[in-house]
């Protein structure tokens, strides 16, 4: 990644981080907010920063990074620019897993059931998409596989919510289909962060293999890259990162599509370098989108997933048009 791009993303990320601590229903001075992180200031201030805004900021960064790197990894391995956790249904499958363990009481007995449910769902989703579309399959096949997985996971989620004992459950489908970070707390950070980090690190190790694959499968194998090993790490890493993200925030779509596309040219079209760049870009985009979700309307919040879809869907349309034009 070029130094300039890295610096720009880092500046945006730091600015977003500070804004995310300072802005909200109650305006807080940035220095006071930073002080509160280290335990300074009145109790109300520390409470707002440490228990409300910091967990939200951490989740936005971690989930954005997870979605960015998972999108880049899926695109690199499947050799398909439209592969993305939301588009291919991996996020929706993760949400289904989380919904089942959350609403039927398992999470009360064993809190880590939440990320594990998301992980299992996302794992099944990613495996299904791979089984249906395969590596280097046509874009149409991949998108159709995604439509099928999304439809199935969405229907099963709606079914689970209709059968859930809580009368609120059916009203909460939006929190899973178009997720967000409203009222998420440190509890959710501790539940999701270890899994997201493990998944992101696992996906980052794909860099050398994905670069080698650009030379063709034979060349990659002669360089000592095992396709099966690469695939296993891709499935496991995506399940961990996307599953845990979705389990605490619901589906936040298109981050993994938009970010790698914006950055691909900047890293010299090397899928390996794109991984870490997309993690950084995903974290930045998601944090800024979450700020917008909090600030656009003052008396209530827009779900983050609604905003990323509003950014991402037109982007997706533009990609479709581009693909049509390049067809003979």
């Amino acid at each position: 990644m070029s130094r300039g791009l890295f610096a720009l993303l880092l500046v945006l990320l730091v600015a977003g981080f500070l804004a995310s601590l300072a802005l909200g229903p109650v305006a807080i001075d940035i220095r006071a907010a930073l002080g509160a992180i280290f335990g300074d200031g009145p109790e109300a201030l520390r409470l707002i920063i440490l228990e409300i805004r910091l967990p939200r900021t951490i989740l936005a960064l971690a989930i954005g990074a997870a979605l960015g790197i998972a999108g880049a990894a899926l695109q690199g391995y499947l050799r398909n620019p439209l592969a993305e956790p939301g588009v291919v249904g991996v996020s929706a499958a993760g949400a289904l897993g989380a919904v089942v363990v959350f609403y039927f009481g398992l999470v009360r007995v064993f809190p880590y059931a939440l990320p594990l449910g998301g992980l299992l769902g996302a794992g099944i989703g990613v495996w299904l998409v791979y089984a249906l579309a395969g590596r280097g399959g046509s874009t149409a096949t991949l998108i159709l596989a995604g439509v099928a997985v999304n439809a199935l996971a969405g229907a099963l989620t709606a079914l689970a919510l209709s059968l859930a004992p809580s009368p609120y459950a059916t009203l909460e489908i939006i929190h899973w289909m178009l997720g967000g970070l409203t009222d998420r707390s440190m509890t959710h950070v501790w539940l999701a962060l270890p899994f997201i980090l493990a998944g992101a690190v696992l996906l980052a190790t794909l860099a050398r293999g994905l670069d080698a694959l650009t030379l063709g499968e034979d060349a990659a194998q002669s360089m000592g890259v095992s396709l099966a090993g690469l695939r296993l790490r891709l499935v496991l890493g995506t399940a961990l990162a996307v599953g845990a993200s979705t389990a605490v925030a619901g589906v936040i779509g298109f981050v993994g599509l938009v970010v790698p596309h914006l950055l691909r040219g900047r890293v010299g079209y090397r899928p390996g370098a794109l991984l870490v760049a997309s993690a950084l870009g995903g974290a930045t985009l998601t944090l800024l989108a979450d700020l917008a979700a909090r600030l656009i309307v003052t008396d209530r919040e827009i779900n983050l997933g609604v905003l990323t879809a509003l950014i991402g869907a037109p982007f997706f349309l533009a990609l479709v048009l581009q693909a049509r034009r390049s067809e003979p």
Partner: protein, 308 residues
């Protein structure tokens, strides 16, 4: 089906369009039957039959009032929520009754002589039941303590038990006036009520009325929240509040809405000041259980006074 704030579970059902065909014929038949019954009935029988004998409830508030007011043999069906601890104050008493999800197809075979729904009962179901000649009454939502009294009296009248209703109202009033009398003189402490998803007790709601009766100043009123307005944890953290209440989530089944009340920030706010968890079922309905909510608030008021 119902708004998210304190949803009264009401059983709702889609419209069964298939039933429309035989509506007119059935209505005519029913009218003929009613006429025949009126001609045949002696005055004494009319007295008895004036009291509905097969009552079906479509609303969990009505469920509880029926259990309190009428001979249980006159209850043809309660709602599925009647035995649910999340929503009903009388889950044990409600056991053993037939229950429905409030679908017209479940209600009609019970041949009820009175169906009682709530404001949030599925309008399609109520319209359908009425179209086939079924008598359906709809209980209003209670937005004040006066509404609670009126609601109980209203139900007592339509089920033919006005004396039972009066007795319940009198018992409620005795307990509420004890709460009002116990309020210490002096400035009112400010209380914040944090309900699911930040909903609260805005001015013009039953909960606001009870909070003020117990001698508190309601934070939602200070902020001038309108109906449907919400508080957020940051507002509560920075406002000067003397006491805090939230709904009791210990017994409720898991949901994102309930999870908002389990936020660690709220637990920390509650740890530093007088706090009470009040189950929503106590004061979302026009039942005598409103008195228990008021008494819990009165205890919190006394604790607040001690810690001032």
């Amino acid at each position: 089906m119902f708004k998210q704030k304190n949803p009264h579970p009401e059983v709702a059902a889609p419209l069964g369009a298939a039933l429309e065909g035989w509506t007119r014929a059935r209505r005519r038949a029913l009218a003929a039957l009613a006429l025949a019954a009126a001609l045949l009935a002696s005055p004494a029988q009319a007295e008895v039959s004036a009291k509905p004998q097969r009552i079906v409830s479509l609303n969990v508030c009505v469920d509880q009032l029926l259990l309190l007011m009428v001979d249980h043999r006159r209850i043809a069906a309660l709602t599925v929520f009647a035995t649910d601890r999340d929503w009903s104050n009388m889950p044990k008493e409600a056991r053993g009754f037939r229950t429905t999800h409030g679908r017209a197809e479940e209600v009609l075979p019970l041949k009820p002589d009175l169906v009682i729904g709530g404001e949030y009962s599925a309008p399609d179901t109520i319209a359908l039941l009425r179209r086939v000649g079924q008598r359906v009454e709809v209980m209003r939502l209670a937005n004040s303590i006066e509404d609670v009294r009126n609601g109980m009296r209203w139900l007592g009248n339509i089920v033919g038990e006005p004396d039972e209703a009066e007795a319940l109202v009198a018992a409620l009033d005795r307990r509420l006036s004890a709460v009002a009398r116990a309020v210490p003189p002096g400035p009112r402490p400010v209380l914040a009520f944090y309900n699911t998803s930040g909903y609260t007790a805005e001015p013009g709601t039953l909960a606001d009325d009870v909070i003020r009766l117990a001698g508190f100043d309601n934070l939602a009123g200070r902020f001038g929240l309108r109906i449907g307005g919400r508080l957020n944890l940051e507002m509560i953290a920075t406002a000067r509040i003397d006491a805090l209440i939230a709904i009791d989530t210990a017994e409720t089944s898991a949901s994102r809405a309930v999870e908002t009340v389990q936020h660690p920030a709220l637990a920390r706010l509650a740890a530093n000041r007088p706090f009470a968890a009040i189950p929503g079922r106590l004061w979302t309905c026009e039942t005598p259980f409103v008195a228990e909510a008021a008494e819990r608030l009165a205890r919190l008021r006394a604790e607040t006074e001690r810690r001032r």
